[in-house]
């Protein structure tokens, strides 16, 4: 990876730097090793989690479908609610308090005729 030194004294500098990496103590090397393993383990666990979560979601959905089917077996499903169209127009319902008037319409006509006869 290294290229020829543009200046000869740099070879000595590099050799000394290389030496310094070879003389690291055991505790330091152990910590480097643990750091590397932890970094790689983080990736492995992330990969596992990435596979496991969609699978868990799918399993949960399947369980919910099964639970619904078990609760309402085929043939026993409740009939869907059909909206019932009102047989009486809304305007007539709104005038509900005037129904008695229409029922006694003949009486009011007779009363009116009596009043006209007596007054006329």
């Amino acid at each position: 990876m290294n290229e020829p030194d543009p200046q000869p004294w740099l070879a000595d500098v590099r050799a000394r730097l290389d030496e310094s990496t070879q003389s690291l103590d055991a505790a330091t090397l152990s910590r480097l090793n643990r750091a590397r393993q932890a970094a790689l383990a983080q990736r492995q666990s992330r990969g596992l989690r990435g596979w496991w979560l969609p699978a868990a979601g799918l399993a949960t959905s399947g369980a919910l479908v099964l639970a619904v089917v078990a609760w309402y077996p085929p043939g026993h499903l409740p009939a869907p609610a059909v909206p019932v169209r009102p047989s009486v127009p809304d305007a007539e319902i709104a005038a509900d308090d005037g129904i008695e008037f229409y029922q006694d319409l003949e009486f009011y006509a007779w009363l009116d005729a009596q009043e006209q006869d007596s007054g006329g």
Partner: protein, 181 residues
């Protein structure tokens, strides 16, 4: 099956660069513990976001994530430094960029001084003294072996900036190491 192969390739890639990544980060933070935390963060971020990219793209992408983590670390430290009033400015060629202004003033520590050779210490000191962008350009380009385009991608800057940072880093390093050649 393909996933297992990819997992194995990722493991091999991270294993191949983790030590160099740690040393680069350690030179930036002057702290082994901080460097380990940042490299671990970078590994997590890289695997989370870029594991599915072609393996040929992994090196610049990993170092891009790592560079981002280091920049975040500098920003956090800068905020802390402001609060305690001990923020020190370091000379740099990017006066407007607070991140690349982060100083490298930490001592490597007595244990490291005793264990390492004078030359190795001098190299560490010289690298720590470089501004962050210059050091990253030097380490990614001439130690990690990324080409100019990949280094620019890792550092999120132009190829011209990489060349400028590298040129300045080489001049500063050579001057600092003259006594040890």
């Amino acid at each position: 099956m393909a996933d297992t192969t990819n997992q194995r390739a990722l493991d091999g890639f991270l294993k191949a660069i983790e030590r160099r990544a740690l040393r680069m980060t350690e030179l930036a933070t002057s702290s082994r513990e901080e460097a380990l935390d940042l490299v671990q963060d970078a590994m997590f971020g890289f695997v989370r976001h870029y594991a599915d990219k072609p393996p040929a793209d992994w090196p610049p992408l990993f170092y891009r994530v790592l560079d981002s983590r280091i920049n975040d670390w500098y920003r956090r430290r800068q905020v802390r430094s402001r609060w305690i009033g001990s923020y020190l400015r370091a000379p740099d060629d990017d006066d407007d960029d607070a991140v690349v202004q982060a100083p490298d003033t930490a001592d490597p520590g007595p244990l490291l001084r005793l264990a390492g050779s004078q030359a190795a210490l001098a190299l560490d000191d010289a690298l720590r003294a470089l501004p962050h962008r210059q050091r990253q350009a030097f380490l990614l380009r001439l130690w990690e072996g990324l080409d100019v385009a990949a280094t620019a991608a890792a550092m999120r800057c132009s190829e011209g900036s990489v060349k400028t940072h590298l040129s300045r880093a080489l001049t500063a390093l050579r001057r600092a190491l003259e006594d040890h050649q």
